[in-house]
Symmetry: C2
Subunit: 541 residues, 2 copies
């Protein structure tokens, strides 16, 4: 009979998980012993919020991520990061050590306890798809399989709590039951595809708008094939940025209502057939609801809902729809030559750094061996004008929008894909939250490049009519010196020339680099300037 924790680690390793992010603690000490004995490498982080973000980023790239924490002081310190993974559909497995089954019976006031021994599991029920304490050797295996199946199938976090006296418990093997998923009805699929083809064939100006599920369900190649067959312009949501290669000649940029590029907006909103694939209608994806999309000309396809115009196809799966559409012989072909590929609204500049010139230089630096991560805040909106090259080489918290995501995610990303250099673009406020995690990059000999937008403020709050509020200003330090203390290299950047120089040195470096880019608090990325304008307009109206 298999032993509980070793069995879990074996199953996870079989799914491609090679690293586990977390921090040990006394209730997780035996669990860490089992982890250290497994084929998965424990990555001890400095702070649980960072462990959550790193494991989330790892999951986004690898298809599954793992965080291993201790009871309450560990697990409850990671709730925000796991909530973000839930909101943005990242398949993250959380394992938490906890008080033993026997000691729970015998003792009431064990340290770390909040209300009851179930407190942490109950909290996790609110931020995960499946939360279970593995206290029964007879049912544990079924619970474990269900958790992993749910994470992989629905792309959401799951939570398993392992009492410390259960870590090496022998468990009964259960028959593996597949998760309850909707199955595609082939007649419904045929009808949906026929209707889609009819709309596409009748349309004069069809457009594809792709979202994050294309990445989560590994449909990137099919989407590119479909786009090339159709010859239509392709844009992405913010959360889905780079699921379609941003260097592709048919790619026109991120669609984001009035916040985004007017060219993209016009093409999307004036299209007579909008094919939305794996994209969610969030406020941040819709330019703070400034989007004008007409359902009557929209084909909306996600794992949760497939709708054409105003009617739904409840019995068709995303993957089956896309596969069938892609292989159809009746796809129309438009001439792609009229498409103007993505054009970031940024320009080179000499003299003092601006967000625009920072983004310009960043775009010059990005290549097929980089993965770009942004944090929340101005840098998130700024992503509108970042142009990556390859597909799936960009990560950001474009819906949950938690500050602090950037630095730990760069670490998770670089472990998940060691062939790509991670570049994190983070605000100074966010850096103060989780920048200390670069200690871990140093220890692991990872060399991410962290660009800190040093403007001494929460710029994205400042721009919402709060230029004069004290509470949007934050302390400033020399982040370049900070890098050196942590064992990396640091650069103070005040001009584009210095930035190019720093990028060059960072590229050659084996240690992490911090680029401390001095930006005026009054400067904003082009997209954030649109947000500020929209905000002011809303206030007036």
């Amino acid at each position: 009979m298999p032993q509980l924790a070793p069995h879990i680690f074996e199953l996870l390793h079989n799914q491609g998980v090679q690293h586990a992010f977390g921090i040990p603690g006394d209730f997780a000490l035996t669990l860490y012993d089992a982890l250290a004995e497994s084929k998965i490498k424990p990555i001890v982080m400095t702070h649980e919020p960072c462990a959550g973000f790193a494991a989330d980023a790892y999951a986004r790239i690898r298809g599954l991520g793992l965080a291993v924490v201790t009871y309450s002081v560990g697990g409850l310190n990671m709730v925000n990061a796991v909530a973000g993974a839930y909101a943005e559909k990242s398949p993250l497995v959380v394992l938490s050590g906890s008080p033993g089954v026997r000691e729970r019976r015998e003792r009431d006031l064990l340290h770390h306890k909040v209300k009851t021994f179930d407190t942490q599991r109950r909290v996790y029920e609110e931020v995960s798809l499946y939360a279970k304490t593995l206290d029964n050797p007879t049912t544990a295996d079924a619970d474990i399989h269900r958790a992993l199946d749910y994470a992989i199938t629905f792309k959401r976090p799951v939570y398993l709590e392992i009492p410390r006296d259960m870590v090496y418990a022998e468990i009964e093997e259960a028959e593996h039951q597949p998760p309850p998923i909707k199955r595609t009805d082939s007649d419904a699929l045929t009808e949906a595809i026929a209707e889609t083809l009819e709309m596409l064939n009748r349309a004069a100006s069809p457009v594809m708008l792709v979202g994050v599920e294309v990445h989560r369900f590994w449909l990137q190649e099919k989407i590119v094939m479909l786009a090339e067959k159709l010859g239509v312009p392709v844009c992405a949501t913010m959360l889905g940025k780079s699921v379609f290669p941003e260097g592709h000649p048919q790619y026109i940029g991120v669609y984001n209502g009035e916040v985004g590029h007017p060219y993209v907006r016009n093409i999307v909103e004036e299209s007579d057939c909008l094919l939305m694939l794996g994209a969610f209608m969030t406020d941040f994806n819709l330019g703070l609801f400034s989007a004008h999309l007409n359902p009557a000309s929209t084909i909306y396809v996600t794992s949760e809902r497939i709708a054409i115009k105003h009617h739904e196809y409840p019995n068709v799966r995303l993957e089956d729809f896309i596969t069938a559409l892609c292989s159809s012989k009746e796809l129309p072909h438009h001439n792609p030559s009229g498409i103007t590929p993505m054009k970031p609204r940024v320009a080179p500049a000499n003299g003092k750094m601006s967000m625009s010139s920072l983004l310009y230089e960043l775009n010059q630096f990005i290549d097929s061996n980089t993965v770009v991560v942004t944090d929340a805040g101005d840098v998130l909106f700024a992503a509108d004008d970042i142009q990556t090259q390859e597909g799936t080489s960009f990560l950001c918290p474009a819906f949950y929008a938690s500050m602090g995501f950037g630095v730990p995610s760069a670490i998770g990303a670089q472990l998940a894909d060691p062939f790509r250099r991670a570049i994190a673009l983070v605000g100074d406020g966010a850096f103060q939250m989780t920048g200390m995690e670069l200690l871990t990059a140093k220890r692991l000999e990872l060399n991410p490049i962290v660009i800190v937008v040093n403007n001494s403020s929460f710029a994205s709050l400042r721009m919402m009519g709060h230029q004069n509020a004290d509470f949007v200003n934050i302390s400033s330090i020399n982040y370049a010196e900070f890098a050196k203390i942590l064992g990396g290299q640091g650069f103070v950047i005040e001009t584009a020339q210095q930035l190019r120089q720093a990028f060059h040195l960072a590229r050659e470096s084996d240690t992490f680099s911090i680029l401390d880019v001095r930006i005026s608090p009054d400067d904003l990325s082009p997209a954030s300037q649109r947000v500020a304008y929209l905000f002011a307009k809303t206030l007036k109206g």
Copy 2:
């Protein structure tokens, strides 16, 4: 009619709250406007976990603390700190901004959302005594009063969520209903006091063991009076450390079973009448259950339960019991001259620093103008041998034991009591979690002294038979240099001489100081050595 948020801030200010800890965000922007206009000063921290710890420490000292955060990315990032406040009975009020009532109706996918708009409130139900969304102007005032009454009466966190369109909503004033508390039955009180007096009068070796509720219910002066009338030895639990002045001649130290000082243990466990006041039977208070207390000779008095021997008095309140006992004319008087006052097991040493010599020098430095805060880990157990002077001049997470508590709590403590200098004793692991918060100390011109035990490991895990595990080792940096980057002063300490010198310079400084004390990973505080011994014994047995 009062406006919702201004009304809350007014009520809180009337209760002595002068500072609010948190970070603004877009859903909390209007709430921060109202805060900035109120008499309460917003203290913008670097990270929400720190805001929670700072507000918790403030609450412990002031009797009420306040954290103001934004939705999900703020509130869910503070769950651990609030859980700690719950576990250790700290009256902390959490206010969170959130999506407006109207926009919740109109829109589904607003950024920061997890499962439903209720996710955060549901999570807070698990870690607070009262959690409510103030979305109704008719009932809001009653909800607000109930929350504040619960926090103040039961010494636990409460949570109020304020949709952003409700911040300035005019609300109806409600009649103030007192919270449901048990009332003292005077006959029951008379009987309980008579029984207690009989036990005390018959006893040859009565002892007082005091706990944290003495502080929470502001009974410190009465307890000293009672102790002096009785002339008996007094000890404290770890969580209750310093509620009784540690410089008092009757004070013998912390009782902690086999972990604590043998003198204290013998006196307590051989006593024929143990008067436990406001003390909880947690594992950490009971020397990891190595305590041997005899219920037949125990009088156990807390706000939750009063028991004499094996029977209970459900209708007697803690405060009434202590007040009545204190003013009784029939208290026996023992001769206190035989009591050996607290004697830390530490000694001065030259040469390389050890935990023992660090604690010795710290004890020399502490005076009536300091408040000492420890973090979790070895430094928490170490507190056994720290001797403060005044009452209520020590804070620690002795039950919930979350790492990262130390630095932010020092900031909260110094704002709560500006006449006392905060000294934080933190491990290097904990410092890496929340040490960045010293940026806030710098901005506020606070000058706490932070002692970092720099031993490149999680020493308290190492000592649990994991000396050779990789995952208990952490990165080391020069914390003295780190201090300078953040704008404070730093000292590398390798000898007692350097430590005394640094203490001297830190005392004179207007900025914060970091004392980077280099300790061998194999060294432990005297109390942790006992824990390690107990742990090894348990493993064998």
